[in-house]
Symmetry: C2
Subunit: 302 residues, 2 copies
């Protein structure tokens, strides 16, 4: 009897980068060539009822927003707050939700704004010389150039030399009001098809490196009502704790590694995705890749 495992190969080929990731392309290449340690100062751990989500911060792209986030985490600002505005296919927003908690008698808003004044936007950055941009290898409908820097999906404009993190699923950013320079404490995680119009219009400064499947479990609001804010407060998923790993005892810190996107291993993975095996793909797909559809491998340090 032939057991039929439907689409096993499909999933094996598409879903992960494990085989490429585990076998360096260059004989003799050390694991240091392929993997980069995530610094504890850049590692955010969000404890939810579903488990812990890990976010890596990207200070090169938005130094002041990263500094603000570290300061918020050191003061345990988010502990006990919620994901209060979660829109399926778009973003999960967490923080203080100032409107709901503010009343004339308890103006928590005013206090938050005083403690955490609005930041100047860091929508894009002129990176220091020596950054390693690994081009995706095909055109993108939304940016002059796209590729990867340090494991982040990045857009670049050769005209002004600016780079920015693209708003792919998993990207971590500060929300803001209409004015550009109004980010204070509220953050969001992209949870749906990349909302590329947000590129360079909001400050993205990190990405989820573990636990996106937990973020996806968060209760949603109704996008047609109050812009997705979850009206029934009891339905908002709590942020039980949100910590900077470097503030934790050494024994409590997970040690993540992200694949170096300038490594031959990553280049090999891209090539494999561009030309997937004909055994399954009887019609060769377009050789174009979607910058937000490329998995960025992460592992715990062996």
């Amino acid at each position: 009897m032939k057991a039929l495992r439907l689409s096993t190969l499909l999933l094996a080929l598409l879903a992960g980068a494990s085989s490429a990731a585990d076998s360096p392309a260059r004989p003799g290449a050390s694991s240091q060539d392929t993997w980069r340690d995530v610094s504890a100062d850049n590692l955010v751990l969000i404890s939810t009822r579903y488990g812990t989500v890990a976010v890596e911060l990207a200070p090169d792209f938005a130094p002041n927003h990263v500094a603000r986030m570290r300061k918020l985490l050191r003061s345990h600002f988010y502990d006990g707050r919620t994901f209060y505005r979660v829109i399926d296919g778009f973003v999960a927003q967490g923080g203080a939700d100032e409107d709901k908690s503010a009343t004339p008698d308890a103006p928590v808003n005013a206090q938050i704004l005083k403690d955490w004044p609005p930041l100047k936007a860091e929508f894009d950055a002129t990176l220091a010389a020596g950054d390693v941009f690994a081009p995706l290898g095909n055109a993108d409908p939304f940016a002059p150039e796209v590729g990867f820097i340090d494991g982040y999906p990045v857009g670049r404009d050769p005209k002004d030399g600016k780079s920015w993190i693209i708003q792919c699923p998993g990207v971590f950013a500060f929300a803001r009001d209409n004015d550009e320079n109004t980010a204070t404490t509220e953050f969001y995680i992209v949870i749906g098809q990349a909302p590329r119009r947000l590129d360079r219009n909001l400050t993205a400064f990190g990405r989820v490196i573990s636990g996106m499947q937990l973020v996806q479990k968060l209760n949603r609001g109704d996008e047609q009502v109050d812009a997705g804010v979850i009206g029934d407060v009891s339905m908002r998923d709590p942020i039980i704790r949100m910590s900077l790993a470097s503030e934790l005892p050494e024994k409590d810190r997970p040690h993540y590694q992200v694949m170096r996107t300038d490594s031959p291993t990553f280049a090999g993975m891209l090539a494999q995705r561009r030309h997937p095996p004909p055994e399954f793909y009887h019609r060769p797909p377009s050789p174009n890749l979607d910058i937000c559809g490329v998995p960025l491998p992460v592992r715990l340090r062996p």
Copy 2:
């Protein structure tokens, strides 16, 4: 005191189509011009522990796969089975998971294959004259032409006149083995950034019209282990019931309507997304849209 509601406008503008959807673009246009009723014969209801997911079937694109699905539903094939292979950012696959349940002594596989023989692939279709293709209005990196037909995101090739449903988030399709003509009973729902390489390589024949946020709650497998199959059977989310609405008593049928993608209202929504308001978007985004990033409005019949 100015209460700061961070990014409310952002979310209101981006997330939904409610304002456009509720105000027809042509004065005097009746609601019949904007909304299309979903036929009970094309409506699949998947009951999960998180709530009910609704899928609309698209017989024009894959008549034999739709006929198979209706037959499977009438025989209650899926009731009590599971979502057994769920890969975050990719697909949620449900059905019998033949490999796990098959042993030489209990060859459920063989019986399933006998009862539900492999189908000839319907990766694309020559639609009948009169289909209304509403072009997206910009180029796509993966298909010669993209647009919308009957509320589905569709690719077209003018060279051979074929059309196909694009594998956007929420699209419903049959899994298969390496051979093209091996779909039998296993289905999947796309849950991540659109895996466009699957376009025209698998048979897509519907889309989720309600409850994607419930699909997102499904427990995931580990993509690095057994191609995402959830090894601990107790962690697989059950398909409690999976029914064709036309088989249910009238009182138990929800009545959905999807926005006509050939309506002026939808065209207005597209234009609004292409040029979002400068009050928030201080840097005008690329006027290009992602075919999989356009919301396809659905409502319950008023």
